[in-house]
């Protein structure tokens, strides 16, 4: 009886990990040309290739790494480079806050380990999954680890190939468009209430209008501003 229960738990955990891979795979398609491009950019620049390659897993965030490589190779002040990259990544704090309630029953140490791979794709896959499936804490963790592993392999692998081979995909096949296409698909499952639709529209508008003024800070400002729409006011009980 115990053995049966144990086997069932194990296979449920494995299923959750596989579900994590499947959920993130459509978003990973767009990472291939992005990773190749960063690798090739590092190879073509005057930068020391391997330290910058380590950023693929030390920083583990594409847009920030791209900004870093670009700014360092143009000789911008190190402080500005660091501030820009961190501003771009500041949205991960909101992702972490939003994820916290789906990981109830998970230890702080475990969360600290999972946080390494908290990016757009792993967050959005987890959010989508949390909205439709009930999972035990172990299964949630397995789902996140599955997503992270797949994204990590694609990301680090494509950067390595780009760096070593200077490769880029044939321009006739623009896989980069998979990024907005998969985001539109995600929006279909994520924006099911009027409030969620309004939030998405306002957030997009803030980035479109705000980017010329606040540059890399626009992403986090947009998320902070848009999520306040229709939210319970401070001090008000829901």
């Amino acid at each position: 009886m115990i053995a049966v229960a144990f086997t069932r738990t194990r296979s449920a955990t494995r299923d959750a990990a596989v579900a994590g891979v499947r959920a993130v795979a459509p978003m990973a398609v767009a990472l291939v040309p992005f990773g190749l491009a960063i690798g090739a950019t590092i190879a073509d620049s005057s930068l020391d290739p391997w330290p910058n390659w380590t950023a693929s897993f030390l920083v583990f965030a594409g847009s920030a790494q791209f900004a870093m490589v670009d700014m360092v190779s143009r000789g911008e002040a190190p402080v500005m480079v660091v501030l820009t990259a961190l501003l771009i990544n500041l949205r991960f704090a909101a992702y972490g806050g939003s994820m916290a309630r789906w990981f109830g029953g998970t230890s702080r140490r475990c969360r600290a380990a999972l946080a390494f791979t908290l990016v757009d794709q792993t967050y959005l896959a987890t959010a989508n999954d949390a909205a439709k499936s009930v999972r035990t804490p172990a299964e949630r963790v397995a789902f996140f680890v599955g997503s992270s592993t797949y994204i990590g392999l694609i990301w680090i692998g494509s950067q390595t190939v780009g760096l070593v081979a200077g490769a880029s995909l044939p321009s006739s096949l623009d896989l980069g468009v998979a990024a907005p296409i998969s985001l539109c698909g995600l929006l279909a499952s994520s924006a099911k209430t009027t409030r969620a639709v309004e939030v998405a529209v306002v957030s997009a508008a803030v980035v479109l209008l705000g980017s010329p003024l606040i540059g890399p800070g626009a992403l986090v400002v947009a998320i902070a501003a848009a999520t306040s729409i229709g939210s319970t006011k401070k001090g008000e009980e829901s």
């Binding site: 459509p26 330290p51 910058n52 950023a55 920083v59 965030a61 847009s63 870093m68 360092v72 190190p78 480079v81 660091v82 961190l86 990544n89 500041l90 949205r91 991960f92 909101a94 992702y95 972490g96 806050g97 939003s98 916290a100 309630r101 600290a112 999972l114 959005l124 623009d174 468009v177 907005p180 296409i181 998969s182 985001l183 539109c184 698909g185 995600l186 929006l187 279909a188 499952s189 924006a191 409030r195 969620a196 939030v199 998405a200 306002v202 957030s203 803030v206 980035v207 479109l208 980017s211 626009a218 992403l219 947009a222 998320i223 848009a226 999520t227 729409i229 939210s231 319970t232 009980e237």
Partner: protein, 100 residues
Amino acid sequence: MTNWMVIVAIAVGTYAIRVSMFVGLAGRPVPAWLASRFDVVGPAAIGALLAAYVLGHRHTAPPVAVAGAVAFVAARRTGNLYAALVAGLPLVWTLQRLGM
């Protein structure tokens, strides 16, 4: 050396950002006003990332907008993200070929 320092500073800072609320809120009650904002971080992020894509790729924006709308409908009908790619990607490429 400076290059390494920049990478390490960004890596450490980014990790601190990731951990801050994810670990900081572990086992703590979240006030209602904050929880209701966390509810819609997903759609806010998607809207912001889509807009950032458009700003960075103005030349491909029209075909992507058309195919994105089709992908949205496909995903909503099927509840499947793969359907969005299957419907949207060939459409973008076709529209790009046609010079849109």
